[in-house]
């Protein structure tokens, strides 16, 4: 597998597409921090929380990883170069996991670039107070978000390996990533509904009475835990919940990512092993 990884790395190291992806990550990350800084200074009313910007990359990582995985698998299928790897004696598992490993490396390096740019620009501009997390919590969040990147890479790798060419791989991966983020957002919207609503009541005697009626959309109890688990289970949803700082059970983050990584790798390698190649 080491040989395949080195070869795949050689193939991608000088590719324009990879450099463009990294430059976009740097620019987008810098733009989000600067935008937060100027809005804070201009309005003076709203303080940007750095942590939300810090993990703002989570939902945005999907397209980066999707494009990379689709490129990696798609070109191999389209040019037939996958054959070269198998004919010269590599197993299908080796091929699958070397591509997965490279996708993970690409995803993690993009995420780290984002985090570094955020840290370098965000902390001096917005201050450490805006992080509103302890160092331990911060480390846990970073670890969980990086694990989410690995989970997203595993999902994209599985989908791209099922395709037959570059275009279908790209469509499949981008479509799935978009669907995961949308589903995650919809689920999170429901999850984020407050238990009590904030309302005002007018009457002849006392014109303004503040009251807090029960929110019928609020989900509580076991179903709430299940919903949170579901959100964390889709890497897109986990990106949304991380970005919104909405996690109630922190353990769900690494647990769900680990489950996604394990299951998609197992399914992906098995289905790739059985696939009829041309």
């Amino acid at each position: 597998m080491r040989k395949l990884f080195r070869a795949a790395f050689y193939r991608t190291e000088n590719k324009k597409m990879i450099r463009i992806e990294l430059v976009i990550a740097v620019l987008l990350s810098a733009f989000i921090i600067l935008n937060g800084y100027f809005q804070t200074n201009l309005t003076n009313a709203y303080i940007y929380k750095l942590v939300a910007r810090f993990f703002g990359y989570s939902p945005l990582m999907g397209p980066f990883i999707a494009v990379f995985a689709a490129y990696l698998w798609g070109t191999d299928y389209e040019y037939g170069t996958l054959r070269n790897k198998l004919i010269c004696g590599h197993t299908r598992e080796e091929v699958y996991f070397s591509n997965l490993l490279l996708t993970i490396c690409a995803g993690l390096s993009t995420a780290l670039i984002w985090l570094i740019v955020n840290g370098m620009l965000g902390i001096p501009l917005l201050g450490t107070a805006s992080l509103n997390l302890s160092l331990g919590e911060m480390a846990f969040y970073i670890f969980s978000s990086l694990l989410m990147v690995v989970a997203l890479s595993s999902v994209c790798c599985l989908l791209a390996s099922l395709a037959e060419n570059k275009n279908s791989a790209t469509l499949l991966c981008l479509g799935a990533v978009a669907a995961m983020v949308i589903i995650g957002m919809l689920l999170y919207d429901r999850f984020a509904e407050p238990e009590l609503l904030d309302g005002w009541m007018w009457s002849d005697t006392d014109p303004t009475v503040r009251w807090h009626p029960q929110n019928i959309k609020f989900i509580g109890g076991t179903f709430r835990i299940l919903l949170e688990f579901l959100i964390c289970l889709t890497p897109g949803g986990q990106g949304v919940i991380l970005c919104e700082e909405g996690v109630e059970h922190l353990i769900f983050l690494p647990l769900c990512s680990a489950f996604v990584i394990f299951s998609t790798s197992l399914i992906g390698s098995r289905s790739f092993k059985k696939k009829n190649l041309k």
Binding site: K15, I87, C88, N276, L277
Partner: protein, 304 residues
């Protein structure tokens, strides 16, 4: 005989289509094995199976004596190179980069032999030109160079001259002959172009509907396709006696038909036969090629 590849009742079935139907073939070591068949006869399917791209539905094959269900089949595949259908190359890389990539896949310690390999296939002057800008012949040759990267002793080429211009075909033929003669590489070629194949092959396998119709050596084909005069006479025993007395080579086909493998003086032979009370009913010069032999075996409904 020492065989590189042997298949035994190999079958491959897709959903509604049986691509291989109990195919049995033997590729001798050191040969150039021409694999002939119609479109959809199962040539590429067989190549995909031996390359490990697909699994057979039933039956087996052995590569260097190692059966496909053995774990060691992966090791034996390391000794082969293949170009299946289209050359497997990265279009956004140069010829040298493509070979470097393949060297890394193989885990070869240095890139020293790349220039030699490029020279062997005639691509040593392509410089920074990307493979997407290569002609079809150049792409085919690069595909072969990649297949040769691991120094294999068995090369599988699926339709290597398909779409090439006459110059490209000649170059490809010379390259294959060079690899076979100078490097002792056994070559399995599937091709539609029977005339071209007949200039190369030392052995033939004729496949139809997923089955091996005939497997023969070039010598055997020569015998079958020898230029001859097919004679129809009233009595072949008399004809045989006369031909023996004239020291001519012949083969009795039936009670009234015989093939004579020599240039004969028709008048002289007819006169002698007439004296022996043997009438000549017809005489026809036969010059069978691989193509006509192939058609006689599988029928001429479709093109090869």
């Amino acid at each position: 005989m020492n065989y590189i590849l042997q298949t035994n009742s190999l079958t491959k079935k897709y959903k509604n289509f049986q691509a291989l139907n109990g195919l049995t073939m033997n590729v001798p070591k050191g040969s150039i094995y021409g694999f002939v068949g119609k479109n959809g006869a199962g040539k590429t399917t067989l190549i995909r199976l031996i390359c490990g791209l697909q699994e057979p539905t039933s039956g087996s094959f052995s590569l260097y004596g190692i059966r496909n269900d053995s774990k060691d089949i992966i090791k034996s595949r390391r000794r082969m190179g293949a170009v299946v259908e289209t050359p497997s190359i990265y279009m956004d890389m140069t010829a040298e980069e493509n070979l470097k990539h393949q060297y890394l896949i193989l885990g070869l310690p240095s890139f020293d032999c790349i220039q030699e390999l490029l020279k062997l296939v005639g691509l040593d002057n392509t410089g920074e030109k990307k493979a997407k800008n290569f002609s079809l012949g150049m792409k085919q040759r690069l595909g072969i160079a990649i297949a040769l990267a691991g120094d294999p002793d068995f090369l599988v080429l699926d339709e290597p001259v398909n779409g090439l211009d006459p110059q490209g075909i000649v170059e490809m033929r010379e390259l294959i002959l060079k690899l076979n003669r100078e490097k002792q590489i056994t070559v399995l070629i599937s091709s539609h172009i029977l005339d071209e194949l007949s200039r190369l092959a030392t052995h033939y396998g004729i496949i139809d509907n997923g089955r091996m119709v005939k497997e023969l050596s070039a010598e055997e084909l020569d015998t079958v396709c020898r230029k001859c005069v097919r004679m129809e006479v009233t009595d072949t025993s008399t004809l045989a006696r006369v031909l023996d007395s004239m020291n001519l080579e012949y083969k009795i086909i039936s009670a009234t038909t015989a093939d004579v493998f020599a240039k004969i003086n028709v008048t002289q032979l007819t006169v002698v036969l007439a004296k022996e009370n043997c009438e000549v009913l017809s005489m026809q010069e036969k010059d069978e090629s691989l193509e006509s032999y192939y058609i006689s075996l599988v029928g001429g409904d479709n093109n090869a």
